[in-house]
């Protein structure tokens, strides 16, 4: 059920508190001195003039940090807080000036003089992999060091990570194939533009560290800060208020060590903020050069895929080794592939460090993989949708051995896309025939003056959900209202609303009676991450479990108050009853703990997946009456007040999700991307217009349909940005477009002329009510779909994104030759 966003009022009235708004008493301000070289030894930093400037408290460089753990990086600890001995990209923090006001800090930062001894700048992956010049001259990896199942490359040959996945014998199968189709694509360096950039405020005091920041994963940041500052986890407090957009770019540790080190050195709380330029120097997405070779048999069935992925990971590894590993898993698509080999390398380059970005390696790989399917269809003389249908996996099929079987019906998703695309085309043609639609008629006429059309579909499946480790706490107050505590971060996706809906449904209260606060590691319980589209599914399960625990605790309290055994107390219809009051029930009722399961349809509903569509969505409040209520029972509030003997007190429920039960098999779910696009291309200018975008949100169950559609449209739009506009352009050592005038993100005017957003609710997910995640899926196939559609329109397959007007014009020139 769609429920209005619980944060709408405070956000539209400007009251919502973001990390950038954070203040602490006696707070000082930082300005970061950034490298003006892409690759150079640091030969001297002269800070005397800056230290003498008005208002300056401290000028901090690497040498001041002493025995403080000076490097961070949760997979490869290669990232110094401030550059040590050498700089590895233009814009790297070299020093930080702490002053009383932001103005004083900014003015003094210009008085820090840095001397460099230049090294060759390796600004792309191909150059870096071929060069003898090392970006990192040492290995930071201890033998056996791992993050999840990722063991990073220990080499220092400009390789941050390498990995591979294989089964069967791809080489032999390709040699024997009837047709082999090869595709190579370049995925640009893109920046996860968010309205709020990276911000961090840190207060180091002896024995404690308090940070307020834009971290997507506060618990991950806590762990890293605790290690760096040699503090117990409990002594590090990371608060994350609202974040103005994350898109993965704010996962793991970013500015927090810099702010914390500045506070440590200056003896004051210190705030570090970034503008768009500095944000682009903080993190971007991995660029990728991907080659896919697919072999088909005589029936156009895939016999093998051989894929080579080369990431441009930038100066520091950050999360890219994991992104590469996931990219490998997501590169070959949800197809039956008897023989597979995928090899991936993430190369260090002298550019902004790359890390997580919405889609997490899927968009990079799917660009080549799905474009390759269209090129193959062309070569084989088969409709590209039919080619996919012939090779798609069915629900329950294995994608990767040992992982969760496919929990989605991709053929049905494809049908929905084709239906929508056909309907739009039919209506347009009909309108032209009838002469009733002037715009459509103009469009039709335009064919004569150089408009070409193309359409394409693309599908992806991502092993999403990350590690199923989550904790939720529900505190029910004496009036029956509820405070839900989770460490999920709200970055605009609406998670506080969706989680409140789940709690409200499980506890039979209105959503207005559920308050969800910000994450704060001192008070909110453990959460692995907010990423991988996991929150509704994984945290949702934790919330359900917490609600079940709360009902159990209420039963215990009611039993104690009534002086009866707890088994004599049952819960039904949002009320607590003595079993004696309830008779003639359906099986299971009265069986103690099992009764709680009656309340949501929940715990285990995902595991079941067996619930038909008509049966889902039945919270206890509107469940069919299955009891003959001889007495009305007690409300939870009455149970609480009775037990405490006052209009006071509260009862708490805690829910934990781990690798067990519904989430025993990884991934917690496969996140599906399924889109269709129709584009038109202006032959004279090369401009691409997206005439129709179709997204299918294959989410099992939409807890909040409007939010899911918002996620799908937002993700797809971000994909359109990559497909058509977004690219960080390096000219030599320096980024030439570190601003939003020249780094062009999609604008309202770029919205597709028609958008069809379909929700596929088949109850086939492991999450609450059969839910699966959304948020990234709709981005993943979009760059590939647009590339294929433009390719069909102009007659030449693109090899490089974004498809800016000049680039499409070049394709048109090639097509003429």
């Amino acid at each position: 059920m769609t429920s209005p966003r619980s944060d709408a009022w405070e956000k539209v009235t400007g009251r919502a508190r973001y990390a950038v708004d954070a203040v602490l008493p006696n707070m000082a301000h930082a300005a970061v001195v950034r490298s003006e070289r892409a690759h150079a030894y640091l030969t001297g930093i002269d800070r005397a003039e800056a230290e003498a400037a008005p208002g300056v408290i401290a000028v901090v460089t690497a040498e001041d940090l002493g025995d403080l753990g000076r490097r961070f990086g949760h997979i490869v600890p290669d990232h110094a807080i401030l550059a040590v001995d050498k700089v590895r990209y233009y814009g790297e923090p070299v020093a930080v000036v702490v002053a009383e006001t932001p103005h004083q800090a900014a003015d003094a930062a210009e008085l820090v003089w840095v001397d460099y001894d230049d090294l060759p700048a390796l600004t792309d992956a191909v150059t870096a992999l071929a060069s003898d010049v090392l970006i990192h001259e040492q290995s930071y990896v201890e033998p056996g060091q791992k993050f999840l199942d990722v063991a990073p490359a220990a080499s220092t040959d400009n390789i941050a990570h390498r990995n591979e996945l294989a089964w069967g014998d791809a080489e032999a199968a390709l040699a024997a194939a009837a047709t082999v189709v090869e595709t190579t694509t370049t995925f640009p360096l893109v920046y996860g533009y968010a309205m709020e950039t990276y911000n961090a405020l840190a207060d180091w005091q002896p024995g404690s560290l308090h940070v307020v920041s834009t971290a997507q994963h506060p618990l991950m940041v806590r762990r890293e800060l605790a290690r760096m500052f040699s503090l117990p986890l409990a002594a590090v407090r990371v608060e994350v208020p609202y974040i103005g957009g994350g898109y993965g770019s704010k996962s793991y540790t970013k500015l927090e060590p810099l702010a914390a080190a500045a506070s440590w050195a200056a003896g004051r709380p210190v705030k570090v903020t970034t503008d768009v330029e500095a944000a682009m120097y903080t993190t971007r997405a991995d660029g990728a050069l991907v080659t896919v070779r697919t072999g088909f048999d005589a029936d156009a069935r895939i016999c093998a895929r051989d894929i080579d992925i080369r990431f441009d990971t930038g100066a520091y590894a950050d999360n890219s080794p994991l992104v590469l590993t996931k990219s490998i898993n997501r590169s070959f698509g949800p197809y039956r592939i008897p023989n597979l080999r995928v090899r991936g390398v993430a190369a260090y380059t002298n550019t902004s460090p790359a890390s997580s970005y919405r889609g997490f390696g899927a968009p990079q790989a799917a660009l080549a993989g799905e474009l390759n399917m269209d090129m193959a269809a062309d070569r084989l003389g088969i409709d590209p949708v039919e080619l996919r249908r012939r090779n798609l996996l069915a629900p329950g099929d294995t994608i990767i051995d040992g992982k969760r079987p496919l929990d989605a019906d991709l053929a049905a998703d494809l049908d929905a896309i084709v239906f929508a695309l056909d309907q739009h085309a039919f209506e347009r043609d009909a309108a032209v025939q009838a002469g009733g639609d002037q715009h459509a008629a103009d469009q039709h006429d335009a064919v004569d003056v150089g408009i070409r059309r193309g359409r394409a579909v693309a599908v992806t499946a991502s092993d999403a959900g990350a590690s199923p480790i989550s904790t939720a706490q529900v505190r029910m107050h004496a009036d029956g209202s509820v405070t839900l505590l989770v460490s999920s971060t709200e970055m605009g996706q609406g998670s506080r609303t969706a989680l409140a809906q789940i709690a409200a449904r499980e506890l039979c209260v209105s959503i207005e009676a559920v308050a969800v606060g910000q994450s704060d590691t001192r008070f909110t319980p453990f959460e692995w991450t907010t990423g991988a589209s996991r929150t509704t599914t994984v945290v949702g399960l934790a919330v359900q479990a917490a609600c079940a625990d709360l009902w159990d605790n209420l039963r215990v309290k009611a039993a104690e108050s009534a002086g009866v055994p707890v088994d004599d107390v049952v819960v039904h219809g949002g009320r607590v009853h003595l079993a004696a009051e309830v008779s003639n029930t359906v099986s299971g009722l009265g069986a103690g703990g099992d009764v709680v399961g009656e309340h949501g349809t929940g715990l285990g509903a995902g595991a079941a997946g067996a619930l038909g569509a008509g049966e889902r969505g039945t919270g206890a409040a509107d469940a069919a009456p299955v009891v003959k209520d001889s007495g009305s029972g007690l409300t939870p509030a009455e149970v609480i007040r009775q037990w405490f003997g006052a209009d006071a007190g509260e009862v708490v429920g805690v829910g934990v999700v781990r690798r067990d039960g519904a989430t025993a098999v990884l991934p917690p779910f496969w996140e599906i991307g399924a889109v269709g696009v129709e584009v038109s291309v202006d032959v004279a200018t090369g401009e691409v217009t997206v005439e129709h975008l179709v997204t299918v949100g294959d989410v099992g169950h939409a807890v909040n349909p409007d939010l899911v559609k918002g996620q799908d449209l937002g993700a797809a739009t971000q994909g359109l940005g990559i497909a058509l506009w977004e690219e960080m352009v390096y000219d030599g050592e320096q980024l030439t477009n570190p601003n939003l005038v020249e780094y062009r993100v999609p604008r309202l005017r770029d919205t597709p002329r028609r958008i069809t957003s379909v929700l596929a609710e088949r109850g086939d997910g492991a999450g609450p009510y059969g839910a699966k995640g959304a948020g990234e899926g709709a981005l993943n196939p979009v760059p590939a779909a647009v590339a294929a559609a433009v390719g069909r329109a102009v007659g030449v397959w693109p090899t490089e994104l974004p498809l800016t007007p000049p680039r499409v014009w070049s394709l048109l020139q090639q097509a003429q030759q």
């Binding site: 103005h103 003015d107 903020t273 200018t685 030439t736 477009n737 014009w809």
Partner: protein
Amino acid sequence: MAVLPELGLVRSGDLDDVLAAVDYDHAPFAGGTELVPAMELGLRRPAAIVDLKRVEALKGIEVDAEAGTVTIGAAVTHRRLSDHAGVREHLPTLAAAASRVGNARVRSTGTVGGNLCFAEPRSDLGCVLLALGATAEVRSAHGARTLGIDELIVGAFETSLEPDEILATVTVPFEPPGMSYWKLQSYERPTLGVALVVTEDRWEITVGAATERPTRIVLAAGDTAGLADFVGGLEFSDDMTGPPDYKRSVLRAYLQRTLGAEL
């Protein structure tokens, strides 16, 4: 967060006060849509800014029916220009172009004077005003002079203004019949702008945005050879909006289609 250095502010409603204050270190300031980003990037570091927004003499829009002109104050915003009834009636192409400059925020604060005096090549107004034969009145504490648009804008980011001069007004003849303006705008600023005045016997063509400064040519109608020479001879910029060949091709295709000329 981009932080500007501390700087002074000179503010007066009197034009003479403003003219007395303006020099190299005292930058005229109206909408700030060009000056502030330049200051953020450290390209301009004035000691003070001189606020023009309160000077009524710079904010007028006067329609002179007798002379057949509209005189526009330099501190008039794009939004006021595009919304003004007299401008819409007598200079509809200019009004339409102004209504599509930049984005809503730029149009609400950015001014005609800032647009011209910053001489950003990728701009619409310079091209349209050159096509209309507009003249600019330039003032300083020592007097005034009148310039054509092509005398005011002499290169990319380059005008003939002295440091103590400001642009006061632009006087624009009423729009002739047969005028149009088309632009290709893929990014925040236009890639190419083309203003045409097409009559039975004349082709007046002004090309903007893709060259260092707007360029105008007047040809006899049907002079396709002259047109081809003009298009072939333009020196297009090479930037993120596209290489010169691309811009030439787009211009050629547009002129072919619009003028019915085979180039």
